[in-house]
């Protein structure tokens, strides 16, 4: 057991820190708007040119073949530098890991490099109006057609799908119940009818997708037709776990919160909770280092999901309490607060995660 960073890890950190200090832009407009989305895409291009968009990927696809620890270090530096949210997150964090595992060589060639450069930005199309937590009840369907499939039905709550280039999602391809007979498709969003839906902050960050016989060729099926559930489940563990919401993000928020508290000198009761939240971000970091060292990233990620999402709400709630009336006028803390409130809902609600912990980690009966 060694809790010191190696020479190589320190160099990696220093290099990332220097590059980010020189290159990270100031705040960009919300990525849930068309202009903000494109501004974030521009930033992703710059990240990619410096090989910082997907550090853990193989070099041939635009990455640096970074170790998991180096990836965590990069994330710490990224968020500490105040760099923008990752508009490419659904592709690089959710689709790419399963594309590496289940995709064909041709699919990896076709999609990964463009994804790394944000030439293509991907949207996740899983949820449906009647299938949220109970994803396996989904009814959007795929019908065989010469050379491929035609998609029918409706998907919803798809983040930024109104501006994205490609989508990935599950469709019922075989007449079988629940998690059987589902197929994982990758499709261009060009031919999909899209209705943006404003979120709580007023920005059109959600979209509803209407499929009316959109054609998808066979080579855009990920894995075997009918096996989509297994692939989707592999995605969800990266969604909940360290890829989508690594500790660096919360460490940076916690540091900002402590700086704010120093300025505003809160009473001891509030100060106590702020110190606790700062340490919880540390706990998440140490927990993650341990998970990486133990190579244990399976259903334990459900524990992490509950922990980080509830921590994020606490961090932002405390900031708003410190700020008083100034906290409820537009600004980064208010934006962050509203977004933190979604954490226990997306990536599998926290109620579902607690049930998963109870059943799969603790072995309680269904």
């Amino acid at each position: 057991m060694d809790l010191e960073f190696t020479e190589a890890e320190r160099e990696f950190r220093a290099e990332a820190r220097d590059w980010l200090a020189a290159n990270a832009p100031g705040p960009l407009p919300s990525m849930d708007t068309r202009d903000g989305f494109e501004a974030h895409r521009e930033w992703e291009h710059r990240l990619a040119e410096a090989r910082y968009s997907v550090v853990s990927w193989p070099v041939e696809y635009g990455g640096r073949a970074a170790t998991r620890i180096e990836w965590l270090i990069f994330e710490e530096e990224y968020w500490a530098a105040g760099a923008p949210g990752r508009v490419s997150q659904n592709g690089i964090f959710l689709l790419a890991p399963v594309l590496f595992t289940y995709g064909t060589a041709a699919q990896r060639e076709r999609f990964l490099r463009r994804m790394a450069r944000a030439d293509d930005i991907w949207a996740q199309a899983w949820s449906e109006p009647e299938a949220g937590s109970d994803l396996a009840s989904l009814t959007a369907r795929a019908e065989p057609a010469p050379g491929g499939w035609r998609l029918y039905g409706r998907k919803t709550w798809s983040s930024r799908a109104a501006y994205a280039d490609w989508g990935f999602g599950l469709f019922r391809s075989h007449d079988q119940p629940r998690h059987k007979g589902l197929t994982y498709f990758m499709f261009s969003l060009d031919e999909v009818e899209i209705r943006p839906i404003p979120q709580l902050d007023g920005e059109p960050g959600f979209a509803e997708l209407y499929f009316d016989g959109v054609f998808v060729p066979d080579d855009q099926v990920l894995g075997t037709p009918g096996e989509g559930w297994r692939i989707a489940m592999a995605t969800t563990s990266s969604e909940r776990g360290l890829t989508l919401r690594s500790p660096g993000r919360f460490m940076a928020t916690a540091d900002r919160l402590v700086r704010l508290a120093r300025e505003l000198d809160p009473d001891p009761a509030l100060a106590d909770q702020i110190a606790r939240a700062w340490l919880d971000a540390e706990a998440y970091r140490l927990h993650t280092y341990r998970a990486v060292a133990e190579g244990e990233l399976g259903s334990a990620t459900s524990m992490g999901k509950v922990f980080w999402s509830e921590l994020d709400i606490r961090l932002h709630t405390l900031a708003l309490q410190l700020l008083g009336e100034r906290g409820v006028v537009a600004g980064p803390w208010l934006d962050g607060y509203l977004f933190s409130l979604a954490g226990p809902i997306y990536a599998g609600t926290n109620e579902i995660q607690r049930t998963i912990v109870a059943e799969r980690v603790l072995g309680l009966p269904r």
Partner: protein, 338 residues
């Protein structure tokens, strides 16, 4: 960065776990409490595997290991709710006693109770040969026969607390200073609390699988599941803080001496988080067991009591939280370690 235990560290924990499963079963806790059996079950077998010499320097016939090497073994003593002054003998005394005493300590022939500054009572002093007492800012040892011990019966019938009156005669001044020993003791108790919490969680899960109401195991009810899931999460996120503090307190002391405040912060974080997780595990264990958990007849009561008894030991979670507040908000420069 490699935050994984070594094979040796894991093997030591496994050994201690096996020894205690065999020689310190739950029935022996009751026997120790009711004085119908050994006061210190498992101790002689632990001594045989070298447990009491883990932190004793090699020059005094110990193994000369660091706290991090012993931390999982200490966690196992919590999991078994091992009676006796375990932390005081195995984790404090090695830092304070003279080399002659240490050789006896390493061999398992010397049991030590401690009452340092901030403590009111000496735990398990009835089972100790030697007491280390802080008196007017200085440390002294005294043979327990020469000290006047008054029992203070309370929540834990196994971890007994004693007031100590020292008349002056027989005390021997100690040169060593307490702070490093107190840090180690605090983290060692935090490890025991993690072990206690793990046992409470496992026991509660087993009970929830077996107990049937409304025609179904109570563990199939979501309200029960979520209580237990929250305990699992609390324990899982507290343990790394304890292990990190143990690393910080082990040679080669990369954190010292420039960063004393970070060291204290790591220690307080470990004790606060472990104490809170264990308290939550105890609350939930009691709730999941229902009335039978509220009896003296179920062995569960020994683990509940130990959690309650260890909370104030070497600073309660609340005390450490307030230290953390000062450390985090009060220091002009907030650095992370590692």
């Amino acid at each position: 960065m490699d935050f994984a235990f070594t094979d040796d560290q894991l093997a030591l924990a496994t050994t201690v776990r096996k020894v205690l499963a065999e020689h310190c079963p739950p029935s022996s806790l009751r026997a120790s409490a009711q004085q119908t059996g050994a006061r210190l079950p498992g101790w002689s077998q632990l001594a045989e595997v070298g447990f009491f010499g883990l932190l004793v320097p090699e020059s005094s016939e110990g193994l000369g290991l660091g706290l991090v090497d012993a931390i999982l073994a200490l966690e196992e003593t919590g999991r078994a709710a091992l009676p006796g002054p375990v932390v005081e003998t195995a984790a404090i005394a090695p830092f304070l006693l003279t080399p002659e005493c240490l050789a006896r300590l390493a061999a398992g022939d010397l049991r030590v109770s401690v009452r340092l500054g901030g403590q009111v009572y000496a735990p398990d002093a009835d089972a100790a040969d030697l007491l280390i007492i802080e008196h007017r800012g200085a440390l002294h040892t005294i043979s327990s026969e020469l000290a006047r011990l008054t029992p203070q019966p309370g929540v834990d019938p196994v971890r007994r607390l004693f007031s100590v009156a020292v008349e002056g005669a027989g005390t021997v001044p100690l040169a060593a200073v307490a702070p490093p020993a107190v840090r180690v003791a605090t983290v060692a108790v935090a490890a025991q609390l993690i072990g206690l919490a793990r046992h409470l969680l496992e026991t509660s899960v087993a009970y929830a699988r077996g107990r049937t109401q409304f025609g179904a195991p109570i563990g199939s009810f979501q309200a029960v599941k979520h209580l237990l899931a929250d305990v699992a999460i609390a324990v899982d996120f507290a343990a790394p803080l304890v292990y990190a503090a143990a690393v910080a307190l082990s040679p080669p002391f990369k954190l010292l001496p420039a960063k004393e405040t970070e060291l204290d912060r790591a220690v307080s974080a470990a004790k606060a988080a472990a104490g809170e997780a264990a308290a939550q595990a105890a609350r939930v264990a009691l709730q999941v067991h229902g009335a039978v958990g509220y009896t003296d007849e179920l062995d569960l009561r020994y683990w509940l009591a130990r959690v309650w008894s260890l909370d104030p030991a070497y600073g309660s979670a609340a005390l450490h939280r307030s230290r953390l507040r000062t450390a985090i908000l009060g220091s002009p420069e907030l650095r992370r370690w590692p």
